[in-house]
């Protein structure tokens, strides 16, 4: 059943992405001031939305673990955070490429970029911490605490473009009262978000299966040692 869901999701996401690519690259005109490079927003924004919301989701699963002590919540939190870190990396890389063309530099030390890099480092540390603790329950507890503390920084990063005047563009999406995009240019962002969200769900499902196998192997090893 799990395989069928993964294959179905992958087929849907692949088709949606292909259709959306066609819209982005052949049908939408270049942006008036930025030219062709503006198209990076169709990957930059969805990747960062998935990264940011994934860190938040990881926090909710971490709270779920602390409340229930069920290791499946911990596995979910770890899987979601790992996939989110990949999307955050894509977001940072695409943003950097865009900045090189538009600002003339690969990086600027404004609040948004810095806070997001800090988040990336914190959740990178989260994954390193998981490797450093052997006992599963202790690992889950420690990781949950770091995830919850790190999410405060993810929220600071989310709000940074409203709180401070940053070099990073202010909100452009209509849901954040931006409304800075021309008719027809915003919709492909949402379609790409849907396609990438399907891909991230697949990755989380695959990662979850690895976690459950790892738990099984760990249990067997403990049983073998006990005998």
């Amino acid at each position: 059943m799990r395989e069928k869901i993964i294959i179905g999701l992958a087929a849907f996401a692949g088709a949606l992405l292909a259709w959306n690519m066609n819209t982005i690259f052949t049908q939408l005109p270049d942006e008036l001031n930025q030219g062709a490079i503006y198209r990076i927003i169709y990957f930059h924004v969805p990747a960062n939305i998935l990264g940011m919301s994934g860190f938040g989701l990881g926090m909710l699963f971490s709270i779920g673990y602390l409340v229930t002590k069920d290791l499946r919540y911990d596995a979910l939190a770890a899987s979601v955070t790992e996939v989110s870190l990949v999307f955050a990396s894509i977001g940072l890389a695409t943003g950097s490429i865009w900045a090189r063309i538009i600002w003339g530099v690969w990086w600027a030390w404004d609040y948004r970029l810095t806070s997001w890099l800090v988040c990336w480092l914190i959740f990178g540390g989260y994954l390193m911490l998981r490797r450093a603790v052997d006992e599963p329950n202790q690992r889950a507890r420690f990781a949950a605490v770091v995830s919850i503390l790190g999410s405060v920084n993810a929220y600071i990063s989310y709000k940074s473009i409203e709180w401070w005047t940053t070099q990073h563009p202010q909100p452009v999406l209509s849901i954040r009262n931006g409304g800075g995009m021309a008719e027809g240019m915003e919709a492909p962002i949402w379609w790409n978000l849907l396609a990438l969200a399907c891909f991230s769900t697949i990755l989380v499902m695959v990662r979850m299966r690895q976690e459950s196998f790892a738990r099984e192997i760990d249990t067997l090893r403990r049983m073998a040692h006990a005998q």
């Binding site: 800090v118 911490l129 450093a132 919850i148 503390l149 790190g150």
Partner: protein, 215 residues
């Protein structure tokens, strides 16, 4: 809570392990920065606050690292956890002792910074306010992660990896305010940010310390 704080301070006053190390370290950092930048330039007022807070963060890490690690000998940590006090009281007690030690290190390195870089703030009161708010934030984060990593095999590696990224928002805010204070300007938005950060992280740390220490 106060007993734990007094115990930590007594123990530190007797051995002076963390105190000596962090004082020596802060002087070395301030000396090295003088070669990295031109200490006689007019720009020192702009980047001086950065040097000061980086010194506090690095020297502070030495104090904070020892906080729970010093309890490992003779299984003192297990005895403290088993004693009839709450984990929150143990944590806040240790945080208060760390705060006092870190603040003392800062008070020592502040005139050293002033002498080496010939930079003195026009008013000391706002600078002390920033130091109190910023140091408390550094202490809370450092003490919580000291508790979290105390039993890990890679403690020395994991602690800086986790602590410094968490400290960055505090350091940025503290540096921005200190730059304003050194220039004689108003402190700005950063103070509200630091107060909010202190409240949020103190609450989170007190809530989660039981999870970290006991489970």
């Amino acid at each position: 809570m106060w007993t734990i704080a007094a115990k930590d301070l007594h123990s530190e006053l007797r051995t002076k392990e963390a105190w000596n190390a962090s004082i020596a370290f802060s002087v070395v950092i301030l000396l090295l920065f003088a070669f990295a930048f031109d200490p006689s330039s007019d720009q020192i007022r702009e980047f001086g606050s950065g040097l000061l807070w980086m010194t506090y963060a690095f020297a502070g890490a030495l104090v904070l690292n020892r906080s729970f690690a010093r309890e490992l000998q003779n299984d003192c940590l297990d005895a403290l956890i088993a004693s009839p006090i709450s984990s929150a009281a143990l944590f806040v007690g240790k945080a208060l002792a760390n705060f006092a030690m870190l603040f003392a290190v800062e008070l020592f390195s502040l005139p050293v910074f002033g002498l080496f870089y010939n930079t003195w703030p026009p008013h000391f009161a706002p600078l002390f306010l920033v130091m109190v708010l910023g140091t408390w934030a550094l202490t809370i984060i450092g003490t919580l992660f000291s508790a979290l990593t105390v039993n890990l095999r890679l403690r020395e590696l994991m602690l800086p990896t986790l602590v410094y990224p968490m400290m960055i928002p505090v350091l940025i805010a503290a540096m921005t305010i200190t730059t304003n204070v050194l220039a004689g300007n108003a402190m700005g938005f950063g103070v509200r940010f630091l107060v909010a950060f202190d409240i949020i992280f103190t609450t989170l740390a007190v809530v989660f310390v039981d999870t970290v220490l006991v489970g």
